[in-house]
C-alpha cells in the first residue's frame, strides 16, 4: 500500500548577513565587536546559502549525529523519480532549522558523497560455507538462506538462540519494526543494540531521578538564554560543531560556560572555566561541587522541599567530599571548584549537561546521578531555561532507545516487564500478551556469549558495526566468528558485514523517508530525495519479506508512514507518547516534541514544568559514592587511556572512512600524548607506536600535544584492523546500565 503525499518544498531564502563575530559581552562596548557585521539577530548566528534550484529542493536532516542538522537536498536536473542508473549528484545546503540555524560541519556538507561514489553495497552477498568468499546473489536466495538458518537454529537450540543487534542510527520506523520482528516473528528475548554503548548510563540515571529519560528536556535554543552551563564530558566543538553557535550566543548574552574534561579540547578552549579532572573521578568532583554548594548556602531549600525527595541522604553523603579531599581524588584545584560554585550559586538559571565522557564508565550511572543531584540541589530542574540534560550522540539515539530494540523495553519507552504495557503493545501487535518475551541481555553480554551453549548462535545485525565499536573488540570478534550464522544488513561492507554469511544492502538516508527523534526529543522527518540503486532495498522491505518467510502473519508495513502510524498507536499511554505526531505536523511545525498524546496536543518542548514523571511528581535525589576507574594505572600499565572522537569521522567510521574529503582530513588513527611523555619514551611526532593494555594492542601514529594531561593518552575509535582502539578497551560494565568503561583503562606506550 503506497500513500502519496505532497512533499513540502522549502524555499530557502538568503538573508542579509546577519550575525556577528566575537559578540560583545555584557559590559563591553559595541565598538569592540570585531567581524563582518555588528548586529546579532536574537543572539544567534545565521549563515544561509540559497538553494540552487528551488523546485528540486527536498527537506531532510543529516544522517550523522543527534543534532540532526536541517539540510536541503538539491538536485541538479529534472526530477525525483529517475532511474537508478542516471543518478546525478545531490547537493547539500544547510537549512535554517532551530537546531543548527543554517550551520553544518564537514561531515554534513559531504554526506551525499557516499550515495554516488561507488563505495556502498548494491547487491546482496552470500558465502556458501566458512572459508568461502562473499559472492553476489539474489534477494530471494539471501532471504531464503536467512529464514532457513533461523528455523534450523530455533528448532535445534530454542528461540533465544537467535538474536538481533540493532543500531542508534536506525529510524523510528525501523527501530519499531525491528523490535516487533524480534519479539513477534522470531519470538526471541535476545535483542539489544549499540546504543547501549552510548546512552544507557544517562538514561538509567535520568529515569531514576525524573521518572523519564529524554536527553534534553528543553530545545537547544534555550541554551542561549540560561546563565551558566556546566558542560561535562562533552567535546561539542568537535563532535557536534553547529551546536556551538548556541553557546556562542549564550556568552554573547553574558552567560558563562564551564567545561569539565580531562583534555583541553577545542570546546574547553572556548570555555570561561575549564576543570581537568583525572579520568574516572568525575563523580567525586560532582559530589565535591555539591558539598561546596551546601557549604556556601546555595541550596534552593524551597525547591528541594516542594519538588524533590531524598535530599537528606545526599547531603549527608557529600559531607565526606570536602574540597581538599576532592582535590586529592580528582586533581582539580580547590580554587577552581570554588570558582565554579560561585558561578553556579550566583546564576538564576543553570544547565548541567553530560555526555559520553562521564557516562561511558563502569560508574557512569552513578556519575550522572551525582550531576543530577547537583542540578536538583540548585533548584535548576523543571523550570524554563534550566535543567539537567544528556547530549545524545547517535542520529536516532533518542528514538532508538524508546521503541523496543533494547532488551528490556517495549515501544513508547515502556518496560518489558510492565503488565499494562505488555498488554497494550500486544494488542497493537495482535498477539497474546503472554507471547511477548521477557527481558533479554544487554549488548556486551550478548556479544560476549555468542556461539556458546547458553548464548545466541544465530545473529542478525542491523546498522551496527560491533567489530569496531564494541569494547574488548578482539574477544567480540572471536565470538562473532563462533556463531553458527551471521547476517548483516548495512549500507556498506563494514568490518562486521565482511565476516557475515549473508549481507543485505539497505538504503541510505536520502533514499528513504523516515522519522528520527533528535537530542531534544523533537521528532523530525527525513524525506526521500533519491531512488536507491536497483538491488538495494529498505530495511522495512526486508523485515517484511523475512517475516513472511518465517510464516509470521503480523503486519510489517513497508511504507514508512504506515509504519509510523502503527508506532504511534503502540506508544499511546507510554512515557514516550507519539500518538499525536504525524508526518504532516512534523513538516508544518518543524518537528514535534514528545510526549504528544493527542492530535490536538502541541507537543512538549519543555519537560517537567508542572511536575516530574514520578508517581508523586517529585524528583529523586540518589546518594552515590566515588569508586574510580575499574582499572587504574600501575607500574606495568602506567597511563590512563581515553578514547573518543574526531570531527571528521563518525562512530565506527564505516560511512566516513569511505568519503575522500573526510579521510583526507583524518587519514589514520593516532595517539595524543604530552611532550614530557614523548620525551620520556623517546617518541617523535608522527612515529609509529603501539598502545598496549591487558586486552591487546593497537597501532597508531604519535601526535604530541601539550593540552593533554601528562599521565593520559587519547586515541579515537573510528578505525578497524590494527588501528582499532576497542581492541584494548575494558569491558567492565556499569551494574545499573550495563555500559562498558570505554573512557578509561590502564595502558602503556611502546615504540612499534
Amino acid at each position: 500500500m503506497v500513500t502519496t503525499r505532497a512533499r513540502s518544498r522549502q524555499l530557502v531564502v538568503r538573508s542579509s548577513c546577519a550575525g556577528a563575530v566575537a559578540l560583545p559581552k555584557r559590559g563591553r562596548s559595541e565598538t569592540e565587536t570585531r567581524g563582518w557585521c555588528d548586529r546579532a539577530v536574537n543572539g544567534s548566528i545565521v549563515v544561509l546559502k540559497p538553494a540552487l534550484d528551488v523546485a528540486n529542493a527536498i527537506d531532510s536532516h543529516c544522517p550523522y549525529c543527534a543534532l540532526q542538522c536541517g539540510m536541503t537536498l538539491n538536485h541538479q536536473g529534472s526530477g525525483l523519480d529517475r532511474a537508478a542508473d542516471c543518478r546525478a549528484e545531490l547537493e547539500i545546503t544547510p537549512r535554517d532549522f532551530p537546531t543548527n540555524q543554517g550551520g553544518l560541519c564537514h561531515k554534513g556538507w559531504t554526506a551525499a558523497d557516499l550515495l554516488t561514489n561507488g563505495r556502498r553495497l548494491t547487491q546482496p552477498l552470500m558465502r556458501r560455507g566458512r572459508g568461502e568468499p562473499l559472492l553476489p546473489c539474489s534477494w530471494d536466495d539471501a532471504l531464503d538462506r536467512i529464514a532457513s538458518a533461523i528455523k534450523e537454529t530455533q528448532e535445534t537450540h530454542g528461540r533465544d538462540a537467535v538474536g538481533v543487534f540493532g543500531g542508534g542510527g536506525l529510524t523510528n520506523e525501523k527501530t519499531y519494526l525491528l523490535g516487533k520482528f524480534a519479539r513477534v516473528a522470531l519470538r526471541t528475548a535476545m535483542i539489544d543494540y549499540n546504543g547501549r554503548f552510548c546512552m544507557s548510563s544517562a538514561a538509567t540515571a535520568a529515569q531514576r531521578a525524573f521518572g523519564l529519560d529524554r536527553g534534553l528536556p528543553f530545545p537547544v535554543q534555550d541554551i542561549a538564554h540560561t546563565e551558566v552551563v556546566l558542560l561535562v564530558g562533552a567535546n561539542l566543538a568537535e563532535t557536534m560543531p553547529p551546536i556551538m553557535r548556541h553557546f556562542t550566543a549564550l556568552r554573547a548574552n553574558g552567560g558563562q560556560l564551564v567545561v569539565v574534561d580531562p583534555r583541553r579540547t577545542p570546546t574547553a578552549q572556548q570555555a570561561d572555566l575549564h576543570l581537568q579532572p583525572s579520568p574516572g573521578s568525575d563523580l567525586a568532583l560532582a559530589n565535591g561541587l555539591l558539598h561546596l554548594v551546601v557549604e556556601q548556602g546555595h541550596v534552593d531549600a524551597e525547591f528541594v522541599r516542594n519538588r524533590t525527595v531524598g535530599f537528606d541522604d545526599v547531603r549527608g553523603a557529600v559531607r565526606a567530599y570536602w574540597p581538599e579531599r576532592v582535590e586529592r581524588l580528582t586533581g582539580v584545584p580547590v580554587s577552581a571548584m570554588r570558582k565554579t560554585v560561585e558561578l553556579l550559586g550566583a546564576a538564576r538559571s543553570v544547565m548541567v549537561l553530560t555526555a559520553r565522557g562521564v557516562e561511558q564508565h563502569a560508574t557512569g550511572t552513578d556519575t550522572v546521578s551525582a550531576f543530577i543531584n547537583l542540578a536538583l540541589a540548585l533548584g535548576q530542574c523543571g523550570r524554563p531555561f534550566s535543567g539537567y540534560g544528556a547530549i545524545t550522540g547517535q542520529g536516532n539515539g533518542q528514538g532508538g532507545r524508546e521503541h523496543g530494540q533494547k532488551a528490556d523495553q517495549l515501544p513508547g519507552y515502556r518496560s518489558i516487564d510492565d503488565a499494562a504495557g505488555r498488554s497494550h503493545v500486544a494488542g497493537v501487535w495482535e498477539i497474546d500478551p503472554d507471547d511477548v518475551p521477557r527481558a533479554g541481555v544487554s549488548a556486551y553480554e550478548m556479544l560476549a556469549a555468542l556461539g556458546t551453549d547458553q548464548g545466541v548462535r544465530n545473529l542478525l545485525v542491523f546498522g551496527s558495526n560491533p567489530i569496531v565499536s564494541a569494547p574488548n573488540a578482539r574477544h567480540v570478534e572471536e565470538r562473532l566468528a563462533a556463531l553458527d550464522f551471521l547476517a548483516v544488513a548495512d549500507i556498506v561492507l563494514s568490518e562486521t558485514a565482511a565476516t557475515a554469511d549473508v549481507v543485505l544492502p539497505t538504503t541510505q538516508w536520502a533514499e528513504e523517508t523516515g522519522t528520527v527523534t533528535n537530542l531534544e526529543g523533537r521528532v523530525i522527518l527525513r524525506n526521500k530525495a533519491l531512488e536507491p540503486p536497483q538491488g538495494v532495498r529498505t530495511d522495512l522491505q526486508l523485515l517484511s519479506s523475512l517475516a513472511d518467510r518465517l510464516g509470521c502473519t503480523a503486519s510489517f508495513p513497508t511504507d514508512p508512514e504506515a509504519a509510523f502510524d502503527e508506532l504511534r498507536r503502540a506508544t499511546t499511554g507510554g512515557k514516550a507518547d507519539y500518538t499525536g505526531i504525524s508526518y504532516e505536523r512534523i513538516a508544518a511545525e518543524r518537528g514535534v516534541f514528545w510526549p504528544c498524546p493527542a492530535d490536538s496536543h502541541p507537543g512538549t518542548p519543555r519537560l517537567f514544568l508542572d511536575g516530574f514523571a514520578t508517581p508523586d511528581g517529585r524528583a529523586r535525589f540518589h546518594a552515590v559514592d566515588h569508586r574510580g576507574p575499574a582499572e587504574a594505572p600501575d607500574v606495568e600499565y602506567p597511563l590512563f587511556l581515553l578514547t573518543g572522537r574526531v570531527l571528521t569521522h563518525y562512530q565506527s567510521g564505516a560511512q566516513t572512512r569511505r568519503i575522500d574529503a573526510l579521510t583526507e582530513a583524518s587519514p589514520e588513527p593516532f595517539v595524543e600524548l604530552h611532550p614530557s611523555l614523548a620525551e620520556h619514551y623517546g617518541i617523535a611526532e608522527g612515529a609509529d607506536v603501539q598502545v598496549v593494555t591487558r586486552r591487546g594492542t593497537v597501532a597508531v601514529v604519535a601526535r604530541i600535544c601539550a593540552s593533554i594531561r601528562d599521565d593520559t593518552i587519547f586515541v579515537p575509535f573510528h578505525w578497524g584492523g590494527a588501528g582499532r582502539v576497542n581492541s584494548v578497551t575494558n569491558p567492565a560494565l556499569d551494574p545499573d546500565s550495563r555500559m562498558p568503561e570505554f573512557k578509561v583503562c590502564a595502558a602503556r606506550l611502546e615504540l612499534a
Binding site: 566543538a237 560543531p241 578552549q269 614530557s676
Partner: protein
C-alpha cells in the same frame, strides 16, 4: 556470623562500617561500634570551619541514627571502653557492660597534647573553663560558648590546627595572637622562607604571630583567664586560649592489653596488630611502617583496606603520598609528600617565590626524583604534584606545578591575519586552510565584487568556513581583512 566490635566512633570507624556493610550484603558480619563521644560519627575535618559558622555544627554528622539501624549496625555512644580481655576476647566499658568479639578494631583516634603550662588544669583535674582544645564536637561547643563573652584569644601552637582555629576565631570578631614554639609557622611542613611567607599572610589578616616562644603560665582568676605569660617574660592579655600543640595517638587501651605500641598501635599491612591476629587498628591511633596517621585520608584509606580484610578479601594497605592542606579562608597552604625541610645530601630543591603575589612554591628532589613540595599562597599546583607522586613510574612535568596551568583563553588573542602560515587549518570543522581563505578573498576582491564586509560573507559562503561551530570566525575575519587590505580599493 563474625562478630566485629569497633572501639571508637570517629571518622575511621564511620568509614569502616560504611564500607563493611556496603560490601556485606548478606550481613555475614555483626557490627557493634562503641564510641566515647555523645554524637553520631561526624566530620571532624570541618570543626574549625564551624567556629566561623556555628550552625554548621549541626551539619557535620555523616549518617542519621536510622541509617545505622537500617544497616543493622549497633551503635553505642557516650560509652568509654576501659579494658580489653584478649584471652576471653571481650571488652569492658566504664558502665560495666561487656561485649564479646571475634574481631576487634581499635579506632580510638588521638587526643590533644597538653603542654606543661601552669594554670591550665584546675584543682579538680579538668581543663580551665576559658581554655580549650579543638578536637571534638564538644570542644567546639565549649569554645563557641566561651567566644560569646571573649574579646581576645591566644592560640597555643602555630601548626595546621592552630592556624585553622585562629582563622575561625578571627571571623568571630576576636583579636588573635598565635604563640608557636618552632622557629616558623608550620615548621613540620615548611622551610624558613615558606614559613615567612605564611607569616606575612597571617599577619596581614590582623593575627599576631609570636614564634620561637613557649607559653609558660596561664594567669587565671576563678573562671576567668586574664593573660598568658611567654618564655621571654612578656605577657599577652587574653580571655580565651586554644591549645593546638598536636595530638598523640590514643593507644593506652592497647598498651594496657599488652599490644605493642610505639607511636601508636603497631600494625602490619593488613592493619592487624603485630601481637594479636584478632585485633586491628586504623586511623589516628594506628602506627603503620613507623608512621602514626593524623589525617582523614589516611584513616579512610586504612578503613577501606580493613573492610576488605575483614571480609576475607585480599587487600593490603600502602601509604599514599601525604597531602596536608590548611583549610582557612585567605590562608592557602598545601604540603605534599616529603617536603625535605632539612637540607640533606643528594637532595635539591627548586623554589619559586613571588613576593608581589605572596606565593611561594618549593619542590623537593631526592636523587633527582621528585619527592614532595609545598605551596603557600597559590596552591593550584598541589593537586598535580600529588598526582605525580601517585605515579612515580611516570615523568613529572613540574612546569605546570610551578608556573600554573595554562588556562589563558586563546580566543581573545589578536590573530595577525597577515602572518598566519598558509598551511594552517583555520576552520577545523570544514578543513579550510589560511591559503584557501586568502585565495578566495583576493579573487573576490579583485573581481570588484564588494567591500570587505561582503567579501567576508562571500568567502564564508564559498569555503564553508565558520559554518560549523563558528569558533574560527575571528581568525577568518582577520585573514580576509588582511588579504583585502593589501589590495588597492576598486572604483
Amino acid at each position: 556470623m563474625t562478630n566485629v566490635v569497633v572501639v571508637g566512633a570517629g571518622m575511621a570507624a564511620a568509614r569502616l562500617v560504611e564500607r563493611l556493610r556496603g560490601r556485606d550484603a548478606d550481613r555475614a558480619i555483626q557490627i557493634t561500634v562503641v564510641g566515647a563521644e555523645r554524637q553520631l560519627p561526624y566530620n571532624r575535618m570541618l570543626l574549625s570551619a564551624a567556629l566561623t559558622d556555628p550552625h554548621r555544627l549541626n551539619e557535620l554528622t555523616f549518617h542519621p541514627s536510622r541509617w545505622y539501624r537500617n544497616a543493622g549496625i549497633d551503635l553505642i555512644a557516650a560509652t568509654r571502653v576501659v579494658t580489653i580481655d584478649r584471652g576471653s576476647q571481650r571488652i569492658t566499658c566504664a558502665d560495666g557492660r561487656t561485649f564479646p568479639y571475634d574481631k576487634l578494631v581499635l579506632a580510638t583516634g588521638a587526643s590533644a597534647v597538653l603542654p606543661p603550662i601552669r594554670g591550665i588544669i584546675t584543682s579538680n583535674r579538668t581543663l580551665h573553663p576559658a581554655i580549650g582544645t579543638l578536637r571534638s564536637y564538644d570542644d567546639c561547643r565549649r569554645l563557641l560558648a566561651g567566644i560569646k563573652h571573649g574579646r581576645r584569644a591566644v592560640v597555643v601552637g602555630g601548626g595546621l590546627l592552630g592556624l585553622e582555629a585562629a582563622r575561625g576565631l578571627l571571623s568571630c570578631g576576636l583579636d588573635i595572637d598565635i604563640v608557636h614554639a618552632g622557629t616558623h609557622l608550620m615548621h613540620d611542613q615548611l622551610d624558613d622562607e615558606g614559613g615567612d611567607v605564611l607569616r606575612r599572610h597571617v599577619e596581614s589578616l590582623g593575627i599576631g604571630v609570636h614564634t620561637g616562644l613557649h607559653v609558660k603560665t596561664a594567669k587565671t582568676q576563678g573562671h576567668e583567664l586574664l593573660a598568658v605569660r611567654l618564655s621571654d617574660g612578656y605577657q599577652l592579655a587574653c580571655d580565651i586560649a586554644v591549645i593546638a600543640c598536636g595530638s598523640r595517638p590514643a593507644a593506652r587501651l592497647a598498651s594496657a592489653a599488652g599490644l605493642s605500641t610505639h607511636r601508636g598501635v603497631v600494625v602490619d599491612d593488613h592493619l592487624r596488630s603485630v601481637d594479636d591476629s584478632a585485633i586491628h587498628a586504623i586511623g589516628d591511633c594506628a602506627e603503620h611502617d613507623g608512621v602514626a596517621g593524623s589525617h582523614a585520608s589516611t584513616a579512610w584509606a586504612q578503613a577501606d583496606v580493613l573492610a576488605d580484610v575483614l571480609l576475607d578479601i585480599d587487600a593490603r594497605y600502602a601509604a599514599d603520598p601525604r597531602v596536608v592542606r590548611l583549610r582557612a579562608a585567605g590562608l592557602d597552604v598545601a604540603a605534599v609528600g616529603d617536603s625535605v625541610t632539612a637540607e640533606e645530601p643528594s637532595t635539591h630543591v627548586v623554589r619559586l617565590h613571588n613576593p608581589a603575589r605572596g606565593s611561594y612554591k618549593r619542590l623537593a628532589f631526592r636523587d633527582a626524583r621528585l619527592v614532595g613540595g609545598v605551596f603557600v599562597g597559590d596552591t593550584d599546583g598541589a593537586a598535580a604534584l600529588a598526582a605525580a607522586l601517585d605515579r612515580p613510574w611516570l615523568p613529572a612535568s613540574t612546569d605546570a606545578m610551578l608556573l600554573g596551568t595554562a588556562a589563558a583563553a586563546a580566543r581573545h588573542e589578536r590573530i595577525d591575519g597577515a602572518v598566519l602560515p598558509d598551511e594552517t587549518t583555520v576552520c577545523a570543522c570544514n578543513g579550510v586552510t589560511a591559503a584557501r581563505l586568502r585565495t578566495a578573498a583576493t579573487r573576490l576582491r579583485v573581481n570588484g565584487a564588494c567591500d570587505t564586509a561582503t567579501a567576508l560573507d562571500s568567502v564564508l559562503h564559498e569555503t564553508r568556513a565558520g559554518t560549523g561551530c563558528g569558533g574560527c570566525r575571528p581568525a577568518v575575519s582577520a585573514i580576509v581583512e588582511a588579504a583585502t587590505a593589501s589590495l588597492t580599493p576598486t572604483r
